[in-house]
Amino acid sequence: MEKLNWFEITLQILGHFTPVWIGLFVIFALSITFKGSLGLYGKLFNSRVGMIGLGLVLFWILTALLADVIAPFDSLDQVSGMKNKRPGWPMANGEGHYLLGGDRLARDVFSRVVYGSRTVMAIAPAATLFAFMVGVTLGLPAGYFGGKLDTVLSFLANLVLAFPVILLFFLLVTPEIQKTGIPTYIASVLFAFPIVFFVVLFHSRFEQQPGKLFLFLGLTLVLGLWAYSGLAFNADPLGVFSMDPNLLNIFVSVVFVNSPTVFRIVRGLSMDIQTRDYVAAAQTRGERPWYIMLWEILPNARGPLLVDFCLRIGYTTILLGTLGFFGLGVSPESPDWGMTINEGRKLLSLYPHPALPPALALMSLVLGLNLLADGLREQSLKD
């Protein structure tokens, strides 16, 4: 077979993404049709920036979901004779091409980028969500009550924030530290926050309705503790929830780095919103503090929090890439974008093709998230 030229390569790559294009088309068509009844999400389709951002993000979500269909090869397949080959190089046996060339272990760069989206899409949003749980659970009371609690929590948050992120990673993500079990301790504290959050959330709402209270609390505790035992201690009796020790280490560090910033934002919002009339009204009604915080203040802080959530997923993606770049990634073989860039940069001046695609992929995803955040901010301000 012939080596493909750039036009054919582009065409074939676009072709491989066909399921993603169909998915994007369906989602956009449906959303634009019903945008009037979709709330803030629907309003996103009034802003061009928001639509471009959403498109980029959805593109990578769909790619991660459909990676098995899109990628022509497996991310770990090594084919002899394909080492460092240029983009569009044909396979020796005539079955297809390495569309974006081969890396230094003769693996398909294109397939690795596609599979790499899975790692990012699985870790970044989850880590951000956990950081938000921690930040919200601690930030709301710190802002609402103020006083000593606020002083202590703010000092702790500033302590973590004064730590240069990169130093923290070098200290926290090492094989030695895994031996001491410190990541597990941190995880046992950080992973408890979502459970605490939901327990307090339901308790403050349904205190007077024992039926609903028992249902929701029971559900939270059973599901929460089940996942907790598996994720933090790797001791899930049924074996559904588990986390590789290395992944746990990275996950915990990323949550740890992100939560103080979320704390500061939530604290500020909580201080601001508690001066509003509806909070005063709730206080006069005799509502408990936690009810006011979780059911009056939090819903009214959702706009800025949603915007920050999008930005923070992007930031977390960059952080994960940084970790991969320093070889602290999930596993040495994984197609993680940061690690692929790190591997590719060693031969950059001779073979730029293995490093460039993951770099552009990471950039486009973060750009998408930033644009989405911009669109959301613009639209939520119009309310």
Binding site: F155, N158, L159, A162, F163, P164, V165, I166, L167, F170, L171, L172, T174, E176, I177, K179, T180, I182, G314, I318, G321, T322, F325, F326, G338, I341, N342, G344, R345, L348, S349, L350, Y351, P352, H353, A355, L356, A359, L360, L362, M363, V366, L367, L369, N370, L371, D374
Partner: protein, 316 residues
């Protein structure tokens, strides 16, 4: 103002103490010490030999005692010796810091004016075509971390694949003499990531100032638009970005580490990675303290500077 400064410095000292203790704890974990013992003697030591060596060298005493001891010698200027470079830590760090300071100087020279110009130009007429174009540029640069832009720039300007070869892909020689060819890439790579953020802050601040009453008064008085921007708006619009620029320093540290690794520029960030990956405990301690102090001092300066620049805060 004086009380405020003293209070801030007290909190700062406390923070520095806590942070150095955390670093001390994390670098002196059991497995790290075990590796240290094996490196200092031989790699095939038995566990009992490791234990007795650690006992003899005093590593088995309580952590707080050892931290106190470390702090004492640190304050008196004895920062220990590096196992990686077989030299004293203090001269290594001061030499490397000088190289990094050179890099940072050029980054700031490129980044700050560019970011302020972009910010002011897009903020002075919110929603205009200039604003939209420049905002898109700014948002794209914030989505491009150093390891991405570094790779892209190297491919474009320094690889044989594209063939421009204007610059070198390595900045190792820049520690001796800075030339455009060996220094432009690292400076550009670092400046670009921070630039977008500062530009966006400047834009927001500028846009807010432009809606103020005194700007409207000036316009109605018939002051020309360039004059309004330069004489009336600019000074007030630059207060917020000042804080942001100062707070960039800790963030730039991550950039320094990435860029120095990427272009093999042997400065402070490069040394820190060497220390961390070679289990060089005392060098890593020294680097961490310097990093933490830099962060805290910039926070202090930005706090004081903000109060100084913005008279409205002083009344409270």
């Amino acid at each position: 103002m004086l009380l405020f400064t003293i209070k801030r410095m007290g909190v700062m000292a406390l923070t520095a103490l806590c942070l150095t203790f955390i670093v001390f704890f994390l670098t002196n974990l059991e497995p790290n010490l075990e590796i240290l013992a094996k490196e200092q003697n031989n790699m095939r030591m038995s566990d009992a030999q490791v234990e007795s060596w650690l006992e003899r060298e005093g590593y088995k005493r309580p952590l707080l005692t050892r931290y106190g001891e470390w702090l004492g010698s640190f304050v008196s200027g004895d920062w220990g010796a590096s196992t990686r470079f077989s030299k004293d830590v203090l001269p290594i760090i001061s030499e490397r810091l000088y190289y990094t300071a050179k890099l940072m100087f050029w980054v700031m020279i490129v980044m700050v004016p560019a970011a302020l110009i972009i910010g002011v130009l897009s903020g002075m007429r919110e929603g205009s075509v200039t604003d939209r174009t420049l905002s898109t540029v700014a948002i794209t640069t914030t989505a491009t971390p150093e390891y991405v832009s570094g790779v892209i720039f190297t491919v474009i300007f320094a690889s044989s694949a594209v063939g421009l070869k204007w610059m070198k892909g390595s900045a190792t020689s820049a520690t001796d003499a800075i030339t455009f060819a060996n220094f432009a890439l690292p400076v550009m790579t670092m400046a670009i990531y921070g630039m977008g953020y500062v530009a966006r802050m400047t834009r927001a601040s500028m846009a807010e100032v432009m809606t103020a009453q005194y700007i409207r008064t000036a316009r109605l008085k018939g002051v020309s638009f360039p004059n309004i921007v330069l004489k009336h708006a600019l000074r007030n619009a630059l207060i917020a970005p000042f804080t942001v620029i100062m707070l960039q320093f800790p963030w730039l540290l991550t950039g320094v580490v990435i860029v120095e690794r990427l272009f093999n520029y042997k400065g402070f960030g490069w040394t820190m990675v060497e220390a961390a990956s070679n289990n060089d405990i005392e060098l890593l301690m020294g680097c961490s303290v310097v990093a933490v102090v830099v962060v805290l001092v910039t926070q202090l300066i930005s706090d004081i500077g903000y109060v100084f620049l913005n008279p409205r805060i002083r009344i409270q």
